[in-house]
Point group: C2
Chain length 246, copies 2
DNA sequence: TTCGTATCGTGTAAACTATACACCTTTGTA
DNA sequence: TACAAAGGTGTATAGTTTACACGATACGAA
């Protein structure tokens, strides 16, 4: 457990003139970004995973990840990964947490930064061509490669919190959606049941839903009205937004 | 802007047997942890900074940071830094965010993970011996070394949010404190003014303050009652805790 | 000793928000 | 045409948040 202190090495009063040679003496490690890409389909929370290509993790799934390049910052790496795997560019993506256990990767010291995003499976599934990539039901994921189950759990907790702070849920739904779909989404992610009337009242009072005048047309019962989220209005007032409480 | 994709390199169906040599081909970088150590004293939010030892940042201040060692995870590194600089062990410490711009460090590619903590300046100042380390008023910090001003701002935003989610503020106060001190703390951190009666009512309704029966004895006016925070009770009920709204 | 000043400590009414709860309507299907 | 499934709506109650004012206490200065 002997740890060396790297920065407390200057002599009193002597300033270091050459930061490059100072930094060179420090240890280096690999850094990756791993993306937990959540979707919502058939009333279930899904997550996009890729089959591990390491023999020791044969038949296990992992998050979509990649190394960060020398001249690339982490956000750029995360967006690149998303773009390479799903073809998507304009998607919300946020840094969640760093995972840094020294032995978390069997190939050596690899530190990873988890990123999380939410997207609409209907919009994006067509752009995925690699058949080693699949949407998995979040609730039925057991073992994963590396420490990715732990990372995924961290991302799920982040999602539960974030969805109450910002109206992210709309990224998971089709452009036009019914209030029932919206409520199903919140119930699935938060793991709670809500009163339908009160749920509708809450969203009505926010005045961020646009009634499209259209109705569902593929349901075996009375169709509900379809709404759109008013992203423009939200952008204007998001500085004073304090979240949604359920 | 050419980015290389590192993980999509296996041939279809071929599993990689040797993760070590795979990982070796990836780029490496330096990783540090930087701690924003907040304190509260004289009704002001303070932050503990160290004078930069790099000539190009002469006379500028920086956060307390250090490299992460080869066999150390990030949390351990952050706690080590705190211990080495302040002597403290049992302090709340949390990962805030990664800063990864390729050119953020003049000595090369150094990725840093910001950590944040809150502590009581009275309890901890005696253990600091390095006179290049000082408590600075948060509000009067202008320029800093590296991108540390940006990091510090990120930590301050984190603090504002966190202090409403968890009763962290008590870490900044003496063991026994008056309600006025408590209110001053929240007002200083959140940058808002609150009604004294309503503030007291809110804390009274939480039932997490213990009336010590003692009074302030160093004030030039009627002394207030001194309270202690009931950490034990909070621990028991913190699973159902949903935050403090101001 | 008395007055001025600063803060302590407290309660209530009004506005707002959250909750619990039930019925008729509309559509599709059998 | 009747049944099943979900749509759409309103109200009363409880709880919470806000705004607001005055007498009490302690210290210090004149």
């Amino acid at each position: 457990m002997s740890k060396i202190s790297y920065t407390i090495k200057k002599k009193e009063g002597a300033l270091i003139k050459d930061p490059v040679s100072l930094v060179k003496s420090y240890p280096k490690m690999h850094v990756t970004a791993d993306c937990a890409i959540f979707g919502f389909d058939e009333n279930e929370l899904k997550v996009l995973l890729i089959r591990s290509d390491l023999a020791i993790y044969k038949d296990l799934w992992s998050l979509l990840g990649d190394n960060i390049a020398d001249d690339e910052d982490l956000d750029a790496a995360a967006y690149r990964i998303l773009r390479e795997r799903t073809g998507m560019k304009d998607v919300y993506l946020e840094q969640v947490k760093v995972f840094s256990k020294p032995d978390r990767h069997p190939g050596g010291r690899v530190l990873t930064v988890a990123y999380c995003t939410l997207l609409n499976t209907r919009h994006h599934e067509l752009m995925i061509h690699d058949n080693e990539i699949h949407w998995h039901k979040f609730s039925s994921i057991e073992e994963m490669a590396f420490d990715h189950k732990e990372i995924l759990n961290g991302c799920y907790q982040w999602l539960q919190k974030r969805i109450q702070e910002h109206p992210l849920g709309f990224n998971l739904l089709p452009e036009k959606f019914s209030l029932r779909e919206l409520q199903n989404l919140y119930e699935a992610i938060l793991g709670i049941r809500m009163d339908r009337r009160n749920f509708r009242k809450k969203f009505a009072s926010m005045k961020l839903l646009i009634d499209t005048g259209e109705l569902e047309d593929d349901v075996p019962h009375r169709p509900g009205k379809l709404y759109q989220f008013n992203f423009e209005k939200y952008e204007k007032q998001k500085n004073s937004w304090t979240g949604i409480d359920f």
